[in-house]
């Protein structure tokens, strides 16, 4: 599989959500897209394994869901917009998600954003 995105210089810490990623993550993203619906969120919380089974997630995707690990979810083909709906189930916003991915505390992550205004 070749794509133009891969032939150009990679941007560190950034996964381009291209055709390859979109194919890889299709079922995972489809599950997360279902979380727009409150009933689906409840169904997931009631029996997480059964819900993942219903969407035929790969072992890698199931592990990443189980670990609530955003970098692993992206590696498994997850797209941030759909993953945001998964994070929302646990009351986590984009700053919590940002802190987790950068290995910072949420307070430090927020402080980093504020400091970006001083440059």
């Amino acid at each position: 599989m070749s794509s133009a995105a891969k032939k150009i210089e990679a941007i560190p810490g950034t996964t381009i959500f291209d055709g390859a990623q979109s194919q890889k993550g299709y079922q995972l993203n489809k599950m997360c897209y279902s979380f727009n619906d409150a009933e689906c969120r409840e169904e997931f919380l009631a029996d997480e394994d059964a819900y993942c089974e219903k969407f035929a997630l790969t072992a890698e995707q199931r592990d990443a869901i189980k670990a609530r690990n955003v970098l692993q979810l992206i590696e498994a083909g997850g797209n941030i917009y759909y993953l945001a709906k998964f994070a929302g189930i646990f009351g986590l916003g984009v700053q919590d998600v940002g802190a987790q991915q950068t290995g910072m505390s949420v307070e430090d992550f927020k402080a980093m954003l504020v400091a970006a205004g001083d440059d």
Partner: protein, 280 residues
Amino acid sequence: MAQIVGGITTSHIPAIGGAISNGLQEEPYWKPFFDGYPPVHEWLDKIQPDVAVIIYNDHGLNFFLDKMPTFAIGAAAEYHNADEGWGLKPLSPFPGDPDLSWEIIESLVADEFDMTTCQEMKVDHGFAVPMSLLWGHKDKIPVRTVPIVINTVQYPLPTPARCYKLGKALGKAIEASSSDAKVVIVGTGGLSHQLDGERAGFINKKFDLMCMDKIVNDPEVLTRYSIHDIVRNAGAQGAELVLWLAMRGALSEKVSKVHSNYHIPISNTASGLLVLENAA
């Protein structure tokens, strides 16, 4: 013949909707952001547009990866907001203008922009937050809307140059239409931000300020960037700059800047606000 009166750029971050419903506008975190808007309201009260064309990206409410249009346009009498997964109360429906939508569709397709046409389209925060920021303080939304969606989710994304040209074709379509409406074009989203990956939290004030300057009188400079250049300079979701470029393309070559505001941060994002008035 409809008249394009000007354009607005504004953030569409979901957290803004939360701040509005919780009345946090005067809190120290939010005040520098919301203080940018009263001059926009004054301008809108003076100009009194009849229609707002809202250019935004759907973040996984209406469109999924099963069918992902590069360019889509609403042609409905009404557009509904809905739960995006966070359990927030949906906003009241927004009025459409199907006659104008269809005239725009006819013209865009004739100009080789083969739009996906949507007679039902749920509108997410990308559309709803700007509507709240611009008209949410009114008892009733005083404009009809035409939503235009540009894919910024799944690559390949349309190039900045292509989005600018879409805007030009949109401007031509509106001005040639039989509608007698006054139309404002709203480019939403931006500026620099990145939600995903180890680079999450990336913001680039210098690049943003350059964009806010160039988009006024020299937008073609920005059309020479590739999407990859924009992502490198403005973060993964900084690609939303293409929404601003589509807005700018629809305006006249010369515009006057009525108002601007730039603030870091709202949520993970640098927020840029502009009001541009078309040359008379």
